[in-house]
Structure formats: structure tokens, C-alpha cells
């Protein structure tokens, strides 16, 4: 049976399905040649994420091999110490930021729409922009090898080592700017994942019927949105310190290096779960298929995923047990760190129970799943050991920690990643993999991994610190290091076997049968390889495993017996449904291929390159280009000629998303605000943190902040919110002149606030460079100014749109969005005012 055909399909039905396929492919398909750079479709973009991530994985692996070769013998001079530092820094950075997160995002982007019955992610251009940011950011970081300034302060860039005093070259700047650039893609992916899971599920797929992978990614998405901004902020602050001498982390000037550690690990620990949860989601999906049994304890898995999301945010300090925090505080974090084992344990038992009740087939993906269970449980156990502060003091910064983190990350991410690739490969490529090479890859990886990292626990206990350049003879470390190196090369052979298998697969693989695993979830209802548009028609869901409940579903959907089966409008369309019960709410008209994401990413790259090479005149230029790019991007939406309602098939008439006040744009705005809130909250945390550690705050010899002008400015800004609310109401009654009046007033008041903030900085008794107080004051006020500038631009956009007749009362979403962001910014400035002007009075 060839890909695309389905059992029991008669000739006329097959030809109708084929006809529909060709028509949809015309609308959604990938253009040839260089025009592929304009592609925004999730299947293409996600494949790029996976392939690019895998290339970075190979680079990171190569670095690991060099490190292991160097450590194989005592007193080795295979690498010099500078290169050694660069390699361990880049190995960690690559594996965490350029491999694990993007590759899992890629898998999620590829699978989610197919699993939840949607034709695409909700913001395809954002996915494409995210990909380019990831690629360009990665290239920027790796270009440090070309100019010989490779980051070398470790993947968590601790200050003062990473500060300009001890790393005067561009090394740390490459890291800070490159990684921040890459993180744009992570945050945009987080927003897209959450919005798509909540709003684009097939009708009937209530939250109680979502595939568990969607639950995993929903929580992961929220964790990305809240977890990445602290590091983005930390990177901005450190870059400001390095480039302009704002002393956030310099003790002599009121700063504190621990602030960096807090900001880094506020991100860094959730990051571990941001990597683990998608992988655990892959495991959960594959376990059900290979056991041929629904996952036991669906509600328990949801509990575990949600609990992991919460608890993992409250354990960041367990990376900082040795910095001298109060013991009671260590007790809190120790307790929470042990507590996170509860949800992990629940999941392990769920997987075991599901396999127990089903009939497990030992195919290659299943082997990787078993490998995952074995390794991850061991890593989890050493995790509980390390959660104990007293034990951690003994092994902190030794190879015991290196062993633990590789057990958790390779066990918890790499093995599920390979399991997932083997499991979904037939869907992606339409071909079968080779059982022989797959097994070879697994055993080499599994044995090699354990030989490499199991002895590392021991050598850590024997006192070998991590990141040590070399070691003398006679400490009893020689043989263990040699064994680890041999194991490392076995692992590398395993990866080589996998790459070989992949090559043979695409070159000679046999055609895959449709749903060869006999899986129950929606993605397997598609033709193999999965077509660009996913579904010819969207299903009505009645069960958690739609294909087990109705084996004929694939044929029914392929023949157009679902929603949105008519390609006649020639548009890319999918359904927007309600958050909890997935009732159809509107039809989402998605954008077509465009070069805008690429161009915008190039402008963004210009910004980062300008900052890196300290040619600051490039920065405003890049900013103007970016604003122009976003302007065109948004102008394209809310099309004037678009009808208010369209036929969604199955007797259903629905509005288009433009005429719905809570369309996808509203969700993107709300979630962006959440990310921004996390960033601003981290900045406020920095302000309060420095306050508590500085001996006097603000420094007494500096004099007080001026308060009159800022207070007047803030009063005006609050009034602007009122004007904005009034203008929004005018749109509802259809009065455009009054809407413009309200917007004009609000813009003037916001500009006046901006002037008041500039005056505040001018009249402040200290600049940003003398003391951390001045630095964080400038950072806070700069943040307010940036936000106010942004809302003013947004309001100007609405005014321009209203002049061209785009702003009408039955398409209110743009105005709703601008109002929402406007009120948020006003609130932020109000909080900033309280922190800067009122709080010092109270203390």
C-alpha cells in the first residue's frame, strides 16, 4: 500500500481525495528554488528547526569529543587551556540553546497542528521569523570562531569572570548578543504554542480530549513565556555593563554578581524542564502506541505536567547553595527541589503502567524509550541527592554534577528525541527506517552513554572538579577518565550510525504504509509524507484516540467529509475554537508565503551586529527598518474586502477572525504582555535585590530624585489611558472622528510623559556609570521610554489605518489590542513610579 492511499477506499472516492489534495496543495504548497526562503508553512519551518538543530548537535558533539580526548590522559597538552575553556563553554551553550530547545520546538511545531486537527500554527510568519532569528543568532555566535573571540566563561557566564575586567575581548559579547538573538525565537515559539493549543484545536477536542503532548507543550509554552525573559534581561544588563560601564554586577559600585546568578537560574532551572517536558510528551505519545493501550491515568499526567510547571520555577536557588544564602532559604529550595520528584515519579509510573497493561512491541523507538526510562530514573535519583544542600556542598562544581546533568538531559531529552524521530519518521518522510541500523545506533548510544557518564559520578566524588583544564598523575583519576573517553567515542559511533540510517532512509527507504504503527492520534490520519495543508477537511473529535474510535476517519477526512473542505476560496484557512470545549468560533485566514519574516530577521541581525561591533549608528537604522517591516507585516492583515462571515462546511457559518474581538491577534497580544511582564518583573526584582544588598540605597551623597515633573508626567499618562478607553468606545458606536480625537489626545499625553522621563534622567543627580543605583534607575526609565515609544507607534498605526478605511466597527480587534497594550504600559509606568519615588520614602 502506497503513501496517501487508505485501506478500503474505492476508485471514485480515491480520485475525489486526490483531486482535493491537488487543489489544497496549490494553495499551501512549497514554491521551488529560492522562493523557498519565503515559506511560512509549519511543516517546512519546523523541518528547518530540526535540521539546523541537528547540525548544531553535531557541532556540540564534536566539541565534546575534543574535550574528552583531552581529558583521556593526565597532563595532556592536546588542547591549550584557552581553547579548552572555549570548547566547554560552546559545548554547553550549543547543546542547551542551539540544539535542545530549538529542536524540540521544531518537533512541536511539526506535530502539534497535525495532532490537534489544525492546518497550521496560528502565526505562521512568526514561526518563520523565529526560525531566521535562531539561524542568524546561531551563526552570529559561531562567527566568534572566525574572529578568534570565542566565549570562554562557561555556559552560564558567571560574573565577574564574564565581565569586561576579566574578559576584555568580545568573547562574552558574542554569547550575550547571540543568545539573546536566538531567544527571540524561543519566546515567539512559546507564544505561538500556547495560542495554537488553546485556540486552534479541532471541534470537540475539549481540554479533556487533547493529546497529552498538547498538555505538555501548553505548559512548556507558558514556561518559555515566563522563564526566558529573566535571562534576556540579565543579558541586556550585562551587555550594558560591558559596553557602557553600567555597574549592575560590580561590587565596588553598589552592584552584585549574585544578581546575575539569580537572573540566570531564574531562567536556567525552568529551562531544564522546558527541555524535559516536550521530551516527556513524546514519550507519553509513543508509549500509548507501542503498548497499544490508552495512556493510563490521563488526569494524573495532566496533574504531573502542571505541577512540574509550577514547582520547577521555585527551585532555581539549588544551583546556588554554596553562595552563602541563609540556611532556612536553602531549606525552602531544597524541599521544593525534592518535591519536583513527585510529578516526575507520577509520570514514570504512568508510563510503566501503560506498558504493563498493553503489549509492548520492541521496535527501535521502543528501545529508545526503555533507554530513556533507565537513564532518566538514574539521573532523577542523583537529582534528589543534589537537592539536599548538605550533599550538594560536597560535590558542587565536581564531575558528579556533570554526570547528573548529562543523565538528566541526555536521558531526558536525547533518547526521547531519537525515539520521537524514529516514531514519526514515516509520517515526515513517507518511508520506513532500517531496523538494523536503528538498533545499532541505540545500543552504541546506550552503552556508550553509560560508560561515559556512570564513572563520572565516582570521579566527582574523588574530587575532580568540572571544567578543570588538566590533572596530575597519581590522584587515581587516570583510568576513570580514560574509560569515560572510550565511552564518549562509542556514543559518537552511535550518532554516526544514526546519521547513516537517516541517509539510507531518505535514499533507499521503503515506502511507509499509512499509520504503520496503528496509532490512535490524529496526525496518523494524514497521507505519508504529511501534506503541506495537513487536513483536507477538519474532523469533529469524539475521543482521545480518534483513530482507534473511528478507523475510517482518515478516508472520511480525505474525501472532504469534515469542516472547511472547500478549497474554492483559494485562501489558507483553519478553525479557531473555544479554549475549553473547542466549539467553533471563527475561521482563521492565515497569511501566505512572504519574504517579510526573512527581511525582518535581517534587520534584527543588523541591530545585533551593530551592538556587537560597537557601531552604534547601525542600531537606530536597524530599528527604523524593523518598525517599517512590522508596519508592512501588520498592514497586510484585517483585509478590507474580506467578508464578515464565511461558510465553514457541515452547515456551519462562522465569522472571520478579523470580526471577532478575541481573534488570534488578541491572544498573541495577551501572551506577549505576559512575557513582557516577566521581563519587567525581573528588572524590578533586580532593583529590589540591589537595594537589599547595597549598604545604603540610594547612596546618601547623591541627593534625592526630582519628583514634580515625573509625577505630572505620570498623571498625564494615566489620563491617556482614559482617553484610550473612550476612543475604543467611540469605535463601537461607529464614530471615527471621535476615535481619532481620543487617539490624538492619548498620543500627546504619552509624549508628554516621555519628555518628563527624559527630564528626570537629565536632572537625576547621578548618571548610569557611577553607581548601580544610577544604572538601574536608567534601566527602569529606559524601559518605560521604550514601551511608551512603542505604544505611540501602535496608536499612529491605527490612525493611519483609519485614514485608509481599515478601522471599522465590525472589525474591532486592532483597536482592542492597542488599548490592551496601552493600559498595560500605563500600569507598568505606574508601578515603576511607585518603586522609584514612593518606596524609598517608606523605607
Amino acid at each position: 500500500m502506497m503513501g496517501g492511499e487508505h485501506p478500503g477506499q474505492g476508485a471514485p472516492e480515491a480520485s475525489r481525495a486526490e483531486q482535493l489534495h491537488r487543489r489544497f496543495e496549490k494553495i499551501w504548497g512549497t514554491p521551488p528554488g529560492l522562493a523557498q526562503l519565503s515559506v511560512v508553512n509549519h511543516s517546512n519551518v519546523s523541518r528547518r528547526f530540526i535540521i539546523t538543530g541537528f547540525v548544531f548537535f553535531l557541532l556540540g558533539g564534536l566539541q565534546a569529543m575534543l574535550l574528552r580526548t583531552h581529558l583521556a590522559r593526565p597532563n595532556n597538552d592536546f588542547l591549550d587551556h584557552e581553547v579548552y575553556n572555549q570548547l566547554f563553554t560552546m559545548h554547553g551553550t550549543t547543546m542547551m540553546f542551539l540544539f535542545a530547545v530549538p529542536v524540540l520546538e521544531g518537533i512541536a511545531f511539526y506535530l502539534l497542528p497535525k495532532m490537534i486537527g489544525s492546518r497550521d500554527m496560528l502565526y505562521p510568519r512568526l514561526s518563520a521569523y523565529g526560525y531566521w532569528c535562531y539561524l542568524f543568532g546561531g551563526i552570529l555566535l559561531y562567527s566568534s570562531f572566525v574572529v578568534g573571540s570565542v566565549p570562554d566563561a562557561g555556559w552560564f557566564m558567571y560574573v565577574p569572570l564574564a565581565s569586561s575586567e576579566y574578559t576584555p575581548g568580545l568573547n562574552s559579547d558574542f554569547w550575550l548578543l547571540g543568545i539573546t538573538f536566538v531567544e527571540i525565537s524561543a519566546v515567539s515559539a512559546g507564544i505561538e504554542l500556547v495560542a495554537t493549543i488553546l485556540k486552534a484545536r479541532a471541534p470537540g477536542m475539549g481540554v479533556n480530549r487533547m493529546p497529552l503532548f498538547a498538555w505538555y507543550m501548553l505548559v512548556t509554552g507558558f514556561m518559555i513565556i515566563l522563564g526566558f525573559p529573566p535571562l534576556i534581561l540579565g543579558s541586556i544588563l550585562l551587555e550594558l555593563e560591558r559596553a557602557f560601564g553600567w555597574p549592575f554586577f560590580m561590587v565596588g559600585q553598589g552592584g552584585d554578581p549574585l544578581l546575575w546568578q539569580h537572573l540566570f537560574w531564574l531562567f536556567g532551572h525552568p529551562e531544564v524542564y522546558i527541555i524535559f517536558l516536550p521530551a516527556a510528551g513524546i514519550v507519553t505519545m509513543a508509549v500509548a502506541t507501542f503498548a497499544r493501550h490508552p495512556v493510563v491515568g490521563y488526569s494524573w499526567v495532566v496533574l504531573a505536567v502542571v505541577a512540574t510547571g509550577f514547582i520547577s520555577f521555585m527551585i532555581w536557588v539549588h544551583h546556588m547553595y554554596t553562595v552563602g544564602l541563609p540556611q532556612v532559604a536553602q531549606g525552602f529550595f531544597s524541599a521544593a527541589s525534592m518535591g519536583v520528584a513527585i510529578p516526575s515519579g507520577i509520570q514514570v509510573f504512568v508510563w510503566i503502567a501503560t506498558l504493563w497493561l498493553g503489549r509492548a512491541q520492541m521496535r527501535v523507538p521502543m528501545l529508545f524509550l526503555m533507554g530513556f526510562l533507565f537513564i532518566f530514573v538514574l539521573g532523577g535519583l542523583t537529582g534528589v541527592m543534589l537537592a539536599l544542600a548538605s550533599f550538594d556542598w560536597q560535590v558542587h562544581d565536581t564531575h558528579f554534577v556533570v554526570a547528573h546533568l548529562h543523565y538528566v538531559l541526555i536521558g531526558g531529552m536525547l533518547f526521547p528525541f531519537f525515539a520521537g524521530l524514529y516514531y514519526w519518521l514515516p509520517l515526515m518522510s513517507g518511508r520506513e527506517y532500517s531496523e538494523l541500523f536503528g538498533r545499532l545506533a541505540f545500543w552504541l548510544l546506550f552503552i556508550g552513554f553509560n560508560i561515559t557518564f556512570l564513572p563520572m559520578h565516582l570521579i566527582g566524588m574523588l574530587g575532580m572538579t568540572r571544567r578543570t583544564y588538566t590533572y596530575p598523575e597519581g590522584l587515581g583519576w587516570e583510568i576513570i577518565n580514560l574509560i569515560s573517553t572510550v565511552g564518549g567515542f562509542l556514543m559518537a559511533a552511535g550518532v554516526a550510525a544514526f546519521v547513516m540510517d537517516l541517509y539510507l532512509h531518505y535514499r533507499f527507504g521503503q515506502r511507509a504504509t499509512a499509520n504503520g504503527w496503528g496509532a490512535g492520534t490524529l496526525e496518523w490520519s494524514l497521507r505519508h509524507p504529511a501534506p503541506s495543508y495537513n487536513f483536507i477537511s477538519l474532523p469533529q473529535i469524539r475521543d482521545r484516540y480518534p483513530l482507534w474510535q473511528n478507523p475510517k476517519l482518515p478516508q472520511e477526512l480525505a474525501q472532504g467529509q469534515g469542516f472547511l473542505a472547500d478549497p474554492g476560496r483559494g485562501e489558507r484557512e483553519t478553525l479557531g475554537t473555544s479554549m475549553l470545549d473547542a466549539k467553533p468560533e471563527y475561521v482563521v485566514r492565515l497569511p501566505r508565503n512572504t519574504y517579510l519574516p526573512l527581511l525582518l530577521a535581517l534587520a534584527t541581525a543588523l541591530l545585533f551586529v551593530g551592538l556587537l561591533i560597537k557601531q552604534y549608528w547601525l542600531v537606530p537604522m536597524a530599528a527604523v527598518l524593523m518598525v517599517a517591516g512590522v508596519w508592512c507585516w501588520l498592514w497586510d492583515r484585517g483585509i478590507k474586502q474580506a467578508p464578515l462571515v464565511v461558510d465553514a462546511g457541515q452547515g456551519l457559518t462562522l465569522p472571520l477572525q478579523y470580526s471577532h474581538p478575541r481573534g488570534p491577534g488578541w491572544w498573541a497580544m495577551g501572551l506577549s504582555i505576559l512575557a513582557d511582564l516577566s521581563l519587567y518583573g525581573s528588572l524590578l526584582f533586580g532593583y529590589l535585590f540591589l537595594w537589599t544588598v547595597a549598604p545604603a540605597w540610594p547612596p546618601p551623597d547623591f541627593g534625592a530624585l526630582p519628583w514634580l515633573v515625573p509625577s505630572l508626567g505620570l498623571g498625564g499618562l494615566i489620563l491617556s489611558s482614559v482617553a484610550m478607553g473612550w476612543a475604543g468606545r467611540q469605535l463601537r458606536v461607529g464614530s471615527l472622528p471621535r476615535l481619532r480625537l481620543g487617539y490624538g489626545l492619548a498620543i500627546l499625553l504619552a509624549l508628554a510623559y516621555g519628555v518628563s522621563q527624559v527630564l528626570l534622567l537629565r536632572d537625576a543627580p547621578y548618571g548610569p556609570q557611577q553607581h548601580a543605583y544610577g544604572a538601574i534607575l536608567h534601566a527602569l526609565v529606559g524601559c518605560h521610554l521604550l514601551h511608551v515609544g512603542l505604544v505611540v507607534l501602535m496608536a499612529c498605526f491605527i490612525l493611519a489605518r483609519s485614514a485608509y478605511g481599515y478601522v471599522v466597527s465590525d472589525k474591532p480587534m486592532e483597536v482592542t489590542n492597542v488599548s490592551l497594550f496601552w493600559h498595560y504600559v500605563v500600569l507598568q509606568c505606574l508601578v515603576g513610579y511607585v518603586a522609584l519615588h514612593l518606596l524609598p520614602l517608606l523605607m
Binding site: N208, I311, P326, Q327, G331, A335, G339
Partner: protein, 125 residues
């Protein structure tokens, strides 16, 4: 915004753990401020003021969590007898059940995190 907080929302479903997070942050921030600003030195009946405040807050949060769990359990049971709209009821029952579990886990996590305070270690050591 209020709509998001109503009974059947995802936010309400996770409110137990949300409370736990706030409690945790409060403990850590209050302790750190106490040590930085010096009010942790104040001793009342042999224990630090910081200990007393945390010991006073803990049962309040615990009660709130138990109440949330109990209410979700009631809702779960009531929905078991409902007959109209089976699809909707099934989804609501699922969320009520998960809420009971989440609030229950929050109770365990709360007691676990409060344990270091009960050990009576001096707060700023």
C-alpha cells in the same frame, strides 16, 4: 479578566499551585528582607519574628487550599449527577477532578516547604 477567574477556567483549576507559588515567594522574600533589613533579629518567645510570621501565614494558606480542594470535589460530585449536555459535563468533571488533585498536591508541597521553618534553624545563619 474576572471571566478568566471564574469557576470553570484553567486558572481556577491551577489556583492551588498558584497559591503555593505565591506562598513560596513570600517566604523567600520575607526571609531575605528580614535578614537584609535586620527585623529577623527580633526574637519573640525564643523564635525569630520571621519564623512567627511564616508560621502564622502557613495555616491560612493551607486552609485556603483545603477549601479549594473541597469545593472542587463538591463540584465533581454534583456534576456526576447532571444529565444535560454530556459533552460539557464530562469536560467540567475532568477539570474539577484535576483541580482536586492539583490542590491536594499543593497541600503536600506547602507542608513540605514549611518544614525547614519548623526545624527552628536561626533564619539568617
Amino acid at each position: 479578566m474576572l471571566g478568566a477567574l471564574q469557576r470553570n477556567s484553567l486558572l481556577a483549576m491551577v489556583s492551588g499551585l498558584l497559591l503555593w507559588t505565591l506562598y513560596f515567594l513570600f517566604n523567600y522574600a520575607f526571609l531575605s528582607l528580614g535578614c537584609a533589613l535586620g527585623f529577623a533579629e527580633i526574637q519573640v518567645a525564643g523564635l525569630s519574628l520571621v519564623h512567627w510570621v511564616i508560621l502564622a501565614v502557613t495555616p491560612l494558606v493551607l486552609l485556603a487550599m483545603v477549601y479549594l480542594a473541597w469545593r472542587s470535589w463538591q463540584q465533581y460530585r454534583e456534576l456526576g449527577e447532571a444529565e444535560a449536555e454530556p459533552e460539557l459535563v464530562r469536560r467540567q468533571r475532568f477539570m474539577a477532578l484535576v483541580a482536586v488533585m492539583i490542590h491536594g498536591l499543593a497541600v503536600i508541597a506547602l507542608c513540605w516547604v514549611a518544614a525547614p521553618v519548623l526545624m527552628g534553624i536561626p533564619p539568617c545563619l
